[in-house]
């Protein structure tokens, strides 16, 4: 047996420490190294206005920070959840105009009694006018508007997202593009609220304890720095949490995520709304600083520019998108004109006309296009690749040798459920489904007793996987019923099925390729945990305990497979061997504490040794209370462990019984061999 890998707590995944002190390179990857790096960056940021006391440069830097926040928000939508949003600037606009409406001279309704309590609260001012009731000047505080704009934008995110997030990725992109176009048009055509194309007038500037920001850049710079730091913190916390893992799972494989208990729609909406909230905050910040806003500031090219920023920096990587945003924004507003002059000077020096004429400011969009194409082709992960935020395991945890006892513990939660051992756990009646004109499943009945292993066999195309899909909610049945411990679960969405206690694996393996083994398995725990976005950010003791217990559970389950999976716990799923991937799928399903486990060809592709090992493990699982429904092609496996076998052919159940009974069944033989053979049947019965 190879020894499990030693790892120091601060080491990067996959690097063998062997007890030697980390080199500088490795140190920077580790937690203390990263913290030191962050500290340096923060210190630089704080001293920035003193290092470069030029108002223009500070102004450009403040704008760049605003775009960094926008990039962070878009990163949540595109990078974490994998939803291509091409109209993100719409939320930027919403945040900006929200502030513009509530804190400027733009909207000035006539004064009447209704406004008095608001005046008392300090939200409005009464502008006296001779010979009239006067008008209302809305002056909601900037500091109050920051979170309010975030909420308003998030609400719009939900509004836009609700009807559209079910759409496939391409379509979603186009629809978001549409929304991104509609918002500026509406802004332009509602001059009462926004002053339309002429731009907002009279936006209030923020003041802090009596210090008025006015149009000074430095206070806005520090505010931007604070906001950026806060939202970087929020992003990082979200990423390394139950919510973040669910998002990544959706990004990697939506169907599998749903099948593991992730409520896709809810989480996509959450990603959309959170991203929108970030943009809302930035909108308010930006418009307070600029003191005006025009609809042209929020058009499609702005959305694309943000996309370029995160593609360049590294989709999914928090540090990457901040870098990408700062780089491109500073380039555009500060460097580019100077850079053009250098190039002109160079051109004059060398006499090359192309350089003399080149104007980078105008060509920046061309450069954006080139960046997109090149990055997608050659470096999809961006400048700073996203690294899944993974906490390392301690040495002790890794070297623990699994014992039989540990396996018991792994399945302990299952015992908490009260299952009547005399009634069928799973009852299926008349389950039906057709696709187009083809009837894939025609009225199947089945009873599965608790604590049994039922095998499902049949020729290719007989509807076995469709049958599984119907039970687990991936496909809606057209008729029939599915009852789990007496409860009707027919047609429920997959994540609800998992909640009820049915988990599954996939015939063609649906792991989350770019997530580590630990993270893959942790997604399985999604339905048994409840930390939301806010909890993820705050990381209260309750949340931390829940996270720890999830991890402990994962370790317990993984230990069932001994040191096949345990040493590789930090490795990305795509780096695992085929057999290990199959094991991981089963482990992931087990983490969700199912009472019924649906295995779709679990030993496919395994060699005989591995097959035997897995067969044995499945039997142990059954012995400890997990009911298993298993599609298999290897009849030896079925014979070994199945208590009951059903045979499907053309969507119908043509036989049911013990493995032996089924083998000699004429119908089964005809289905497999294509012709009825009484002789073969007799011979099979005799063997």
């Amino acid at each position: 047996m190879a020894q499990p890998q030693l790892q120091q707590p601060n080491a990067a995944p996959g690097i063998d420490q062997s007890g030697a002190s980390p080199s500088f390179r490795e140190w920077t990857q580790g937690r203390t190294g990263r913290r030191a790096f962050l500290f340096v960056i923060l210190a630089f940021g704080l001293c920035f206005p003193f290092i470069f006391p030029n108002e223009g440069i500070i102004d450009a830097a403040a704008n760049a920070l605003a775009f960094a926040i926008l990039a962070l928000g878009l990163n949540i939508v595109v990078g974490f959840a994998g939803l291509l949003d091409l109209g993100y600037a719409a939320f930027f606009a919403i945040g900006a105009y929200a502030y513009g409406i509530f804190a400027s001279h733009q909207v000035q309704p006539e004064w009447w009694g209704f406004w008095e309590p608001f005046q008392w609260l300090g939200f409005v001012q009464h502008i006296e006018e001779a010979g009239g009731p006067g008008t209302v000047h809305l002056t909601v505080s900037f500091w109050l508007m920051l979170p309010i704009s975030a909420i308003i934008a998030a609400l719009f995110g939900v509004l836009f997202g609700a009807p559209t997030l079910r759409l496939k990725g391409d379509y979603l992109a186009i629809v978001t593009l549409g929304f991104g176009e509609i918002v500026p048009i509406v802004a332009r055509n509602t001059p009462y609220l926004t002053n339309g194309a002429m731009g907002l007038n009279g936006v209030s500037s923020p003041s802090l304890f009596g210090y008025d920001f006015g149009i000074k850049s430095t206070p806005f710079f520090y505010l931007g720095l604070a906001l950026a730091a806060l939202l970087v913190f929020v992003s990082i916390r979200l990423k390394d949490s139950r919510i973040g893992r669910a998002w990544l799972a959706i990004r990697e494989d939506e169907i599998a995520a749903e099948a593991m208990g992730v409520n896709r729609v809810k989480l996509k909406l959450l990603a959309f709304a959170t991203g929108a909230g970030f943009a809302g905050v930035t909108g308010t910040f930006y418009v307070a600083k600029l003191q005006t806003a025009t609809p042209e500031m929020f058009t499609f090219p702005v959305s694309v520019m943000l996309l370029v920023m995160i593609v360049l920096g590294g989709i999914g990587s928090v540090a990457g998108v901040v870098l990408g945003a700062l780089l491109l924004q500073l380039l555009q507003s500060w460097f580019l004109q100077d850079l053009t002059q250098w190039i002109h000077a160079f051109g004059n020096f060398t006499g090359i006309e192309f350089f003399q004429k080149l104007d980078l400011v105008q060509s920046i969009e061309l450069i954006f296009g080139v960046i997109l194409v090149l990055m997608m082709r050659f470096r999809r992960q961006g400048l700073i690749p996203e690294r899944a935020a993974v906490s390392a395991l301690s040495h002790a945890q890794q070297t623990a040798v699994p014992t039989r006892g540990a396996i018991q513990n792994a399945l302990a939660p299952l015992r908490r459920r009260a299952i009547d051992p005399n009634k069928a756990l799973l009852e299926i009646r008349g389950l039906k489904k057709s696709f187009g004109g083809i009837q894939a499943v025609r009225g199947i009945d089945l009873d599965v007793m608790p604590g049994s292993i039922v095998g499902i066999i049949g020729p290719n195309g007989s509807g076995k996987t469709t049958f599984f899909n119907l039970i687990t909610g991936l496909t809606r049945p057209e008729g029939g019923k599915v009852l789990l411990a007496g409860e009707d679960v027919t047609g429920l969405p997959p994540h609800r099925i998992v909640e009820r206690g049915i988990a599954r694996t996939f015939q063609n393996l649906r792991l989350f390729a770019n997530m580590s083994l630990m993270e893959n398995a942790l997604v399985g725990a999604h339905t048994r945990t409840s930390t939301g976005a806010i909890g993820a950010v705050l990381r209260t003791p309750h949340v931390r305990r829940e996270e720890e217990s999830s991890r402990a559970r994962v370790l317990e389950v993984i230990s069932i497979f001994g040191n096949r999976l345990m040493p590789r716990i930090q490795h990305l799923a795509k780096t695992l061997s085929y057999a290990n991937r199959r094991r991981l799928e089963i482990a992931r399903a087990l983490v969700s504490e199912p009472v019924l486990l649906l295995l779709d060809e679990p030993t496919a592709g395994m060699n005989p040794t591995e097959t035997l090992e897995l067969t044995d493990q499945i039997r142990h699982l059954r012995d400890r209370g997990v009911t298993v429904l298993m599609i298999e092609h290897k009849l030896a496996v079925v014979n070994e462990i199945a208590d009951k076998v059903i045979v499907l052919d053309y969507g119908e159940k043509i036989a049911e019984g013990t493995p032996r009974e089924v083998h000699s069944n004429k119908e089964v033989l005809r289905a497999y061999l294509g012709r009825s053979t009484d002789e073969i049947a007799k011979a099979a019965a005799a063997s």
């Binding site: 047996m1 190879a2 890998q5 990067a12 995944p13 996959g14 690097i15 063998d16 390179r25 920077t28 990857q29 030029n54 108002e55 223009g56 440069i57 500070i58 102004d59 450009a60 704008n63 001279h105 332009r188 001059p191 339309g196 194309a197 002429m198 731009g199 007038n201 009279g202 006015g214 149009i215 850049s217 930006y286 600029l290 003191q291 005006t292 806003a293 025009t294 042209e296 500031m297 090219p301 702005v302 520019m305 555009q332 507003s333 500060w334 460097f335 004109q337 100077d338 250098w342 400011v361 105008q362 060509s363 920046i364 969009e365 400048l383 700073i384 690749p385 040493p567 490795h571 780096t575």
Partner: protein, 438 residues
């Protein structure tokens, strides 16, 4: 077991390589960043250093224009107008012994496709942080002006614009927003839309005897403003507004709205906007409503409208200019000659108001220097306020808000003159007269 260990080792090697590449690229990037920052700092420093070395009295004047995007063509002509004035002054040895140096900032970004208020603001901040800058020339568009003026006011830096016509910026009611310090810093050598639009409405009702009109705008800040101003005055004059709608400048097809207008059959059409939508409108209007009188503001005055539309579609279109007609004026002839020789293109009327604006600034600097006071922003601003200067467009002086006192709006009509080449923009417009004041 050995195989497993080997796999593990290979994986390790791969991981380490990946980390090394990441580190290397980060290292290279960091080096580059440091080098870039150092380079910029060095150049900035070197710039100042060079100026000090020059040992001549130098005064800087900023030029802020959207030299990128949809307005770039017209902006560059304005820039040329400024340049000619400055060059002439420097050729004579400067102004009161001071050499004039121009610092140019581009307020356009390719992303916005036109001026970007945020970029204009950043540029203005850069401008004011250079103590040698005593005045500014520009901007071209009112949208940038709105973002710039609070910053200019804070720094007491005056600017003079040849073409920004939105009245809000100099409106005393909005002084708190646009010039918080109170003193006017936004001077213009053109009159505002507060006059251009309404005067054209007067022209329509008094000269063209129009009784009903359909109003269009192009959704832009300028277009909406001038169309609104036109509409308001037209209503006051008793012209019936048959309808008002907005064109999408990115759209290609306006036959729908033109057919609608044809059905409503007004006496005339008014278009507030610039060439982007204007060109398509004019071309298609020639097809659908060729006989209807059509007019617009200074947005369709420029060469791009003329060349884009071409004959015969452009025939008969009226346009206005927020200033007196200049290019036929003999005094302007010399300027025209210089312009066409140096830049190989024809100037627009705004190139002339730009030239005049630069003259105002130069004159102000001269008066400050000659009076013995220090040539700084505050004094230059005060001097600009009290300008009374003869220029190509006549005598320029400013009211208490910084607006030009001369409120003339000139009306032109595109009429095919076969004696002149078809694409000679200057001579294919007939000066019709001044638009009646309200």
């Amino acid at each position: 077991m050995i195989a497993a260990a080997k796999l593990r080792r290979e994986q390790l090697v791969r991981d380490v390589n990946e980390v090394m590449i990441m580190k290397q690229s980060r290292h290279t990037r960091r080096t580059f960043n440091i080098a870039a920052v150092a380079g910029v700092a060095a150049l900035a420093g070197a710039g100042d250093f060079a100026v000090v070395q020059a040992q001549q009295k130098v005064v800087k004047v900023g030029v802020t224009l959207p030299l990128t995007g949809a307005d770039a063509d017209d902006a560059s002509k304005i820039q040329h107008g400024f340049q000619i004035a400055i060059d002439e002054a420097n050729a004579k040895g400067g102004v009161a012994g001071y050499k004039i140096e121009i610092v140019t900032y581009d307020s356009g970004t390719a992303t916005a496709g036109q001026y970007d208020p945020a970029q204009a603001a950043t540029n203005t901040k850069k401008l004011i942080s250079d103590p040698q800058v005593v005045a500014n020339l520009g901007p071209q568009m009112s949208g940038e002006g709105k973002a710039m003026t609070p910053i200019l006011s804070e720094a007491d830096l005056a600017t003079i614009t040849p073409s920004s016509t939105n009245p809000d910026i100099t409106n005393p009611k909005m002084a708190g927003q646009f010039r918080p310090k109170g003193k006017p810093i936004y001077f213009r050598t053109v009159t505002t839309d507060a006059f251009q639009g309404p005067n054209m409405a007067n022209f329509y009702s008094q000269t063209l005897k129009v009784k009903s009109v359909y109003v269009l705008d192009d959704a832009g800040a300028y277009g909406v403003g001038i169309a609104d101003a036109f509409q308001k005055q037209a209503e006051k004059n008793g012209i019936k507004i048959v309808g008002r709608d907005q064109l999408n400048p990115k759209e290609a097809d306006y036959t729908t709205i033109l057919t609608k207008i044809k059905g409503l059959n007004p006496d005339a059409l008014y278009y507030g906007g610039v060439a982007q939508a204007g060109v398509k409108l004019a071309k298609q209007a020639y097809d659908v409503i060729p006989k209807m009188p059509k007019g617009g503001g200074d947005g369709i005055q420029g060469g791009s409208f003329f060349t884009g539309v071409g004959w015969p579609a452009v025939e008969g279109w009226y346009s206005t200019n927020a200033g007196p007609h200049l290019t036929d004026d003999p005094a302007a002839a010399a300027f025209l000659k210089t312009f066409t020789e140096k830049y190989k293109q024809q100037p627009t009327d705004y190139a002339i108001t730009a030239y005049d604006g630069a003259l105002v600034v130069l004159d102000a600097i001269k008066r400050v220097a000659e009076s013995g006071k220090e040539v700084n922003r505050t004094n230059v601003r005060d001097a600009m306020q009290t300008s009374n200067l003869k220029t190509l467009q006549g005598v320029i002086s400013f009211d208490e808000n910084g607006d030009i006192k001369d409120r003339t709006v000139s009306v032109f009509q595109y009429k095919r003159d076969n004696k002149v080449p078809a694409d000679d923009y200057q001579h294919q417009q007939t000066y019709v007269g001044t638009a009646p004041q309200s």
